[in-house]
């Protein structure tokens, strides 16, 4: 086998880090903000957490086009379903619609999705719909190329019954750790909190999380460093 050929056992890697976490009362969805075409960052401020209904959102990873079209179709069907049902759709129904499209078009689509939301029957729920169209309910879900760096982190840090603030801090920390190591993830961290009270969108720029290994405090210019530390060695040869 030609070593330059991709390892046939590995699924296609997907640019992005997406996370969905349940907590006591609702869910937190999180994502990075980078969309890349090859090595170029096409959009450094993308919004990968897409609204399906007032109470159900979708985290998108993989092909931007495929994930957008899936979410458009699901939003369309859910809209009709809500009218016919006379009340908000449940998270499970939304997740199943995502699954049907992913599964029935599995040969064409390349998108891994996380469905998260809140309904009055089951509270906060997270469903993973990876490549192939499997549907799997989980207390938390991670996806995208950046998620490979987070399996160990979540194995260690995940706890059941977290509060809203604990859960959001966990999501922000996790996405920022993935951004640190995954070239296909970057920018800032977006979160969406969904519970009985409604939906809250948050935005965490680079200075909202601590520096990780081998990262340095961002500066405006070398000149500032030189002027502030005139007592010690200004420039080292």
């Amino acid at each position: 086998m030609d070593p330059s050929m991709a390892d046939l056992n590995s699924p296609h890697s997907m640019g992005t880090t997406i996370i969905g976490v349940t907590y006591d009362g609702g869910v937190i969805l999180g994502a990075d903000s980078r969309t890349s075409t090859g090595m170029y960052v096409a959009n450094r401020a993308s919004d990968k957490i897409t609204k399906l209904t007032d109470n159900v959102y979708l985290c998108r990873s993989g092909s931007a086009a495929d994930s957008q079209i899936v979410s458009d179709y699901v939003r369309y069907y859910l809209h009709q379903h809500t009218i016919q049902l006379g009340q908000p759709a449940t998270v499970k129904v939304a997740a199943n619609l995502v699954r049907l499209i992913s599964y029935n078009n599995k040969n064409m689509l390349q998108t891994g999705l996380i469905v998260g939301g809140w309904d009055k029957y089951n509270g906060g729920k997270i469903y993973g719909v990876p490549l192939g169209g499997t549907i799997i309910e989980q207390p938390f879900a991670i996806g995208g190329s950046g998620s490979t760096y987070l399996y160990g982190f979540f194995d260690q840090e995940w706890k059941d019954g977290m509060t809203k603030d604990e859960a959001e801090k966990l999501v922000v920390k996790a996405v920022s750790l993935a951004i640190a190591r995954d070239g296909a993830s970057g920018g800032f961290v977006r979160t969406v909190i969904i519970n009985s009270e409604g939906v809250t969108r948050n935005f965490y720029p680079g200075d909202a999380f601590p520096l990780w290994h081998e990262e340095l405090e961002p500066q405006n210019s070398l000149l500032d460093i030189l002027s502030s530390s005139s007592s010690s060695e200004p420039m080292v040869s």
Partner: protein, 248 residues
């Protein structure tokens, strides 16, 4: 729209002539389950599978139930692509529903369900669009025990003990040696656990969280998930390369 299984129709949804080029219908598995083992015992069938859903070489999902009851008399265990297993469960749901709607006191037994699955799997294979699974179907009806298997190319047979995937290579030799008629429940469980432990040592996609299912005339029961102890204290394991440094 979304319910068509034929990907020739599917391009209408996604749009674009470039998608027609990727009309490889033979398919490719993404989230997969590993071995399933089934044996006949005194009161019926015992079946076991771990709860892993692998994503390539990553052990991504660790709480996937790969065995599900079917109707009153049967249990289906699956290895291979989990989304296809979920679709098969949906077909079987419909099959059982229509069977119940006859309301005639008759119900599909394990042999009939196995036959139905065989037709589904073989017909998909003939269309070059298989359901990427190896299935184990076990059950008991009117005292008759039944244990069969069918895979993605439609090969099917029944036996006193069956296994899928790695189980074929690692578990079946053990079963050939140690299985006998009228195993008690305890003997059967110990035998399956022996097989599962070997798979845990030697199958890279095995996870240490498994269920054992029992099917008797009374019905189907699944155990709660549990983990097996493993043994690593062989003295030979301490310094295996002392006689030949650099070897493993």
């Amino acid at each position: 729209m979304g319910t068509s299984k034929n990907s020739a129709y599917a391009y209408q949804i996604v749009g674009g002539w470039d998608r027609l080029a990727s009309l490889n219908t033979w398919g490719y598995p993404y989230v997969t389950g590993t071995s399933v083992i089934g044996i006949k015992y005194k009161d019926g069938i015992l079946m076991t599978a771990d709860m892993g859903g692998s994503y390539g070489s990553t052990l991504r999902y660790k709480s996937v139930e790969r065995m599900k009851p079917v109707g009153k008399h049967s249990l289906l265990g699956a290895s291979g692509e989990i989304s296809d297993f979920q679709e098969i469960l949906s077909y079987l749901d419909e099959l059982i529903l229509y069977d119940n709607m006859w309301d005639d006191g008759n119900s599909l037994g394990p042999k009939e369900v196995h036959n139905y699955l065989t037709r589904v799997m073989y017909n998909r294979r003939n269309k070059f669009n298989p359901l990427w699974n190896s299935l184990v179907l076990g059950g008991i009806k009117n005292g008759q025990k039944y244990l069969g298997t069918v895979n993605m190319i439609g090969v099917h047979f029944e036996d006193n003990h069956v296994a899928t995937g790695f189980g074929n290579h690692l578990a079946r030799p053990i079963l050939r040696d140690e299985w006998h008629e009228n195993l008690s429940f305890e003997e059967g469980v110990k035998l399956l656990e022996k097989c599962m432990r070997v798979l845990l040592y030697r199958d890279r996609s095995a996870v240490n969280k498994l269920q054992i299912a029992k099917i008797t005339e009374e019905g189907v029961t699944l155990s709660k998930p549990y983990a097996l102890k493993t043994f690593w204290q062989f003295s030979a394991f301490q310094n295996p390369t002392v006689g030949a440094e650099g070897s493993w």
